[in-house]
């Protein structure tokens, strides 16, 4: 890490370049954990965030899955919300205007049942003022149609990105699922198809069982695991993606402290998304931003950019061999 001689009192520069976007800091909020922003306004100044990713939007409103939709597990939770959302028209009319007035980049997470729906959705959002980028959700484990089906096959993933790319000039982030054998292959396919950035990971497919009723604890049977329990998986996936592609990557998965966030940045992620931790502590993002600032002061680093991708690459040699053994087919 580049050392410099700034006095301990100087404010370190937390801003990062994320593809075409300049963020005041790398701390974003993950889709589906922050509503449309307004739910959190009593707890933090939204303009302090690096960016806001809103709850996944579909062409038409979706009611979501029947309850029980969530269950707590060790250091985590499993959810099967089923992408409940107000639909793109209500979003544009009644949710976005408030966010447009704020000085914070807004990323709209989009989701479709079919390729056409992805394309129509992207076309509707193209050119709307106040949208900084689209995040393409091809990785939700909780819906029967589309969702993870698109995200687990490199060809299907590429086709989704292609149709969205043709429909909009907005910067595109593709959100990857960890529920694949080789996440690097999906990363490569989506970047080749026109994705400017990647975010990883979405939730890990999981379930929980009730021994008294002998039933799954979720009505949907399976759901997505999130929270501190998945951070090690997310770090491994982020590394695999970074070794495969050269586009900006946003790290997601179990981030709850400044240390967690910095781990992803050291690995090479250019930003992070905080998810489940928002549920536990609605002002956690502010605490993470302040903690990063303290880290830079203590380490006497002037710019956070100088931390990004500083992992000791010598260590990666054993990793390369082990990864080949684990994932290469004979």
């Amino acid at each position: 890490m580049a050392q410099n001689s700034n006095a301990p009192g100087d404010t370190p520069d937390l801003s990062v370049q994320l593809g075409p976007l300049r963020l005041r800091n790398p701390v974003m909020v993950a889709s589906g954990t922050f509503g449309y922003g307004e739910e959190y306004e009593d707890f933090l100044d939204l303009e302090r965030l690096g960016a806001i990713v809103v709850k996944g939007i579909s062409l038409r409103p979706r009611p979501g899955n029947p309850p029980p939709r969530i269950v707590e597990t060790a250091a985590g939770m499993i959810n099967a919300i089923g992408l409940e959302n107000v639909g793109v028209d209500v979003f544009l009319k009644s949710k976005l205007p408030h966010l447009q007035r704020l000085q914070v980049p807004v990323v709209v997470n989009i989701f479709g049942n079919t390729l056409e729906e992805y394309a129509q959705l992207a076309a509707k959002l193209d050119g709307v003022p106040g949208i900084a980028a689209l995040e393409i959700n091809i990785s939700c484990p909780n819906v029967k149609e589309g969702g993870m089906v698109f995200g687990t096959d490199p060809l299907m993933a590429a086709r989704v990105v292609q149709v969205v790319r043709r429909a909009t000039a907005l910067p595109l982030i593709t959100k990857l699922t960890p529920n694949v054998t080789r996440i690097g292959d999906i990363a490569r396919a989506t970047v080749d198809a026109g994705s400017d950035m990647l975010s990883c990971i979405n939730t890990v497919a999981a379930m929980a069982v009730d021994i008294f009723s002998r039933r799954p604890k979720l009505a949907n049977v399976m759901g997505g695991l999130s929270g501190p329990a998945i951070k090690p998986i997310a770090l491994r996936c982020t590394l695999e993606v970074l070794r495969e592609v050269h586009c900006p990557v946003i790290g997601i998965g179990g981030i709850a402290t400044p240390t967690d966030a910095l781990e992803f940045l050291v690995l090479g992620a250019r930003a992070v998304q905080v998810g489940t931790a928002n549920f536990v502590n609605p002002s956690v993002t502010t605490e993470i931003i302040e903690g990063m600032e303290r880290f830079l002061r203590v380490e006497k680093i002037a710019r956070l950019e100088d931390c990004i991708g500083t992992l000791d690459t010598q260590c990666l040699f054993p990793f390369a061999e082990i990864a080949c053994e684990l994932t290469d087919l004979p």
């Binding site: 739910e39 009611p63 309850p67 919300i81 009505a219």
Partner: protein, 290 residues
Amino acid sequence: MMKIMEDVSVVSQEKVAFQTHLLRLSAGRISREARLGQFLMVQVRDGTDPLLRRPFSFHRIDAEQGVVEILYRVVGRGTWWLSQCDSGARLRIIGPLGNGFQLPQCGPAPVVAVAGGIGIAPMMQLLEKLAQWLAPSGKTREIHLFYGARTAEEFIPGKAFDTLGITVHWSTDDGSRGHEGFVTRLLEDTMRREKIKPCVVYSCGPLAMQYHVARWALENGVPSQLSLESLMACGLGACLGCALPAVNPAAPQEEHYLHVCKDGPVFKAEMIQWHKIQTHPATPPIFLFS
């Protein structure tokens, strides 16, 4: 209404009935904002396990003293950790959340409250308010509390009810106090026998009980305020985990959900699609969790 995250200290904690604890918190800011029937989220300990905050209704709100009380039953790891907090312990809480109860719009006609087990928690201060309201007209006996539990030792001490002068109808599953059987059956039989037409029914308890209270209220045209429960991650309307199957007035056939944290926790019976509600089995023995 402003939602507040407040670091508070435990004033006292005492065991008041079987597996039932009363926790007093010094929460100046939240106590000034809170209304009856609203709830708060409590982080039961630091660290990541248990990860999520736990929702509790306000048992008592004392804005003058800057104190709020929670009455809760130890049913799992979260409440077990909470039960270990001594005076002076620090807790991080968020509140007040949700909509809360409304006082009856109608005149001082009969009022019915139904509490199942720990469902008594949000009812006590409401009953006090109603009793104060009806005291000048000498009609506090027309406040009927139907209080049910599995067994008598689960009831909180009855002194409080005596001083209020309200009518309490007790029931237990095992017959150890009052009517033997479900409290909702006692409610139906008593109302029919005494030909009481209440102007409102307040209710809090397990969903299986609420189902029957709702059915009774709808069949008899009694306006209802049911405090419902759900698993919940945030309490803020972000996670959408606390969904209940609901009636969409604009399109009754369509699948529709309301959320306990922001649309409730107090609902009218006619808002919920009761036949789609999954009721939980009885609380399993505590030793399996600790």
